[in-house]
């Protein structure tokens, strides 16, 4: 938030801000409290508003019960009085309008183990030339019944992933210890030694390839480095988005003027420009562009010709793509070759698609139905047969190198020919 007064410039205000941030880290985490509140609200609600509760909930409950009873009686009746041949019996659930869940598991990849850790679940991967790191949870080495935070490093272009000790400084979601210490969800490396691990309330810096980490103030919901500098996006409790920049590896960040709100964000950088997509539940998204390495941002409004955008992928030069969701729930990719000034809609894509990467000349689209590739600005798509199941991540490192990770975090796919052919490594 940019305030238009001198309180922020007041040294005491600055010291107070730093003190509050430090002490906020001592606050209880609130995981158990949330469950306690939900239980308490149920009890208090039932006791405090019997009439209103009955008016709002009683009739539907009675109706639901009656309908359920009728359904049960009808079912019993049909079964007892008119037994149907087996091929006529169809379970009720098969007729209900509930969506079919997408498969979340991926086919096992046969081969020797590629890591010393067991039951690995990858949260994020980052590739830098021949090196790569993966942030994950895995079976604890000293207690197979528990799950621990794992950092894996590959030095052979993603074929093998030996573990690197994390010093226990941070945790990731899904580990047995919970997130009692600062929790990180993402990982970005700048080069072979310099990298960041971050989450909404925590940010760590390493300058020795992940061997040791230093905690920096605050957290990040998105962070991307390119060339010599890094852009960091964070969000206040009220949903206000903050952007700050720093030279790679510098502990001091410069807050840049930025004033908008979002429920979630996507940050993507190309050599032509950086793009920040702010997404809001139920409302239009806003795409911002920076051509000075994040120091200033220009709003481009909602980039999708219809509907709202769900993902952004910056290309090199003036190209940028967005994944759009139309009001009728159909999805398509819109591309721009003029730094986002104008977007052209492509062909419809699967409604399960929610991830986007690549230059408009070669776009990768991922989600619940594996991976698709377009070399015609989203107007024609080729399904990649080697990559199946639901994906949780897709990203490009260069015009030829890209990575995809299954949603269950067990399999990594890599390509070195612009997405034509992919190799899978199973860590699960």
């Amino acid at each position: 938030m940019k305030h238009d007064d001198d309180f922020d410039a007041d040294p005491m205000g600055q010291e107070l801000r730093a003190s509050l941030v430090r002490h906020a880290a001592d606050a209880p985490r609130g995981d158990f409290l949330a469950e306690r509140i939900i239980a308490a609200a149920d009890q208090a609600g039932a006791a405090a508003r019997p009439h209103r509760a009955r008016r709002r909930w009683g009739l539907p409950l009675i109706a639901a019960g009656a309908v359920a009873a009728a359904a049960a009686l009808a079912f019993v009746g049909v079964q007892a009085l008119q037994p149907q041949p087996k091929h006529h019996q169809q379970p009720l659930a098969s007729h209900t309008p509930t969506p079919t869940p997408s498969p979340t598991t991926t086919p096992p990849v046969v081969g020797p183990p590629h890591t010393d850790m067991k039951r690995v679940r990858i949260l994020d991967v980052t590739f830098v030339e021949k090196h790569a790191w993966a942030l994950a949870s895995a079976e604890c080495t000293n207690d197979p019944a528990k799950r621990c935070t794992a950092l894996l490093q590959s030095t052979d272009q993603g074929r093998n992933w030996p573990s690197v000790p994390t010093q226990g400084l941070f945790n990731v979601p899904g580990v047995s210890a919970g997130c009692s210490t600062a929790c990180v969800t993402n990982l970005r490396f700048v080069n072979d030694t310099l990298g960041y691990a971050f989450g909404p309330t925590a940010l760590y810096l390493t300058k020795d390839g992940g061997a040791t980490w230093t905690q920096l103030r605050g957290g990040a919901i998105a962070l991307e480095s390119l060339d010599k500098d890094v852009i960091r996006v964070s969000r206040t409790a009220s949903g206000r988005v903050r952007v700050s920049v720093a030279p790679n590896g510098d502990r001091h960040w410069t807050k840049v003027p930025f004033d908008d709100t979002a429920d979630s964000v996507a940050l993507n950088r190309g050599h032509g420009a950086s793009y920040l997509l702010l997404m809001r539940t139920g409302g239009p998204s806003t795409l911002y562009r920076s051509e000075d390495k994040g120091h200033s941002w220009t709003s481009l409004g909602e980039p999708c010709p219809t509907g709202r955008s769900l993902a952004v992928a910056a290309g090199n030069d003036a190209g940028v793509s967005v994944l759009c969701k139309a009001p009728d729930d159909t999805r398509f990719v819109a591309t721009s070759t003029d730094f986002g000034a104008h977007f052209t809609a492509g062909d419809p894509v699967p409604t399960s698609a929610d991830l986007l990467a690549g230059d408009p000349s070669t776009v990768l689209l991922a989600g619940g139905d594996g991976l698709s590739r377009s070399t015609s600005a989203g107007r024609g798509w080729t399904q990649i047969a080697q990559v199946t199941g639901t994906l949780g991540f897709v990203g490009t490192e260069s015009e030829t190198k890209a990575t995809a990770v299954s949603a269950d975090g067990r399999t990594i796919w890599t390509t070195r020919d612009g997405g034509r052919h992919w190799k899978a490594v199973s860590l699960g």
Partner: protein, 184 residues
């Protein structure tokens, strides 16, 4: 397809639809609580300076709002609505607590082991100084310098005018400055 079969299917749909509607309301509240409790708890902790009091404040706020959750959900910014309720709850609680101090002569309970102000006073004068401020000034400073709220948003949370918020912040900073012996 038999008539019984159709009735059976329709009944099933209706049943599932109604259950889904009922569950969705509950999930809305529960989802909000799970998502926002950690951040509200941090703000409450900075206001109260005490882990237990912070948890009580957040819990009381949600339980108080639960019967009118539809109103919260229909607010333009639901989290702002909840924050306002929590801030008011904090100020009112402090006032009640202050009155209670005069009403009883009991020996005060031992400080909460996680009494952050007590633990950290020696190494953070600002943090200790914050504790000595009147509750409205303290809340205004936390909303401004931690939540990063604008004057208008702070005014809404504190249920007062923008000018009052600026006055609270100014006086709060001034008091902290005096305690630290720092010239303006």
């Amino acid at each position: 397809m038999t008539t019984r079969g159709s009735v059976q299917r329709i009944a099933g749909w209706c049943c599932l639809l109604l259950v889904e509607v009922l569950v969705r309301h509950e999930v809305g509240f529960a989802g909000f609580v799970r998502e926002h409790t950690p951040v509200l708890l941090r703000t409450a902790y900075l206001m109260t300076g005490n882990a237990q009091a912070a948890e009580e404040l957040v819990q009381d706020t949600f339980v108080r709002l639960y019967p009118k959750w539809d109103k919260v959900e229909s607010a333009e910014v639901p989290i702002a609505y909840v924050r306002r309720a929590m801030t008011n709850g904090y100020i009112n609680f402090q006032r009640r607590a202050a009155r209670r101090e005069y009403a009883y002569e009991d020996v005060p309970e031992r400080l909460d082991e996680r009494d952050a102000f007590g633990q950290l006073a020696d190494r953070d004068q600002i943090w200790a100084g914050l504790r000595a401020l009147p509750e409205r000034q303290r809340a205004a400073l936390v909303l401004r310098f931690f939540e990063d709220l604008s004057d208008e948003e702070s005014a809404a949370a504190l249920d007062c005018r923008v000018g009052t918020v600026r006055s609270l912040i100014s006086r709060g900073l001034s008091t902290l400055r005096e305690q630290m012996g720092t010239p303006r």
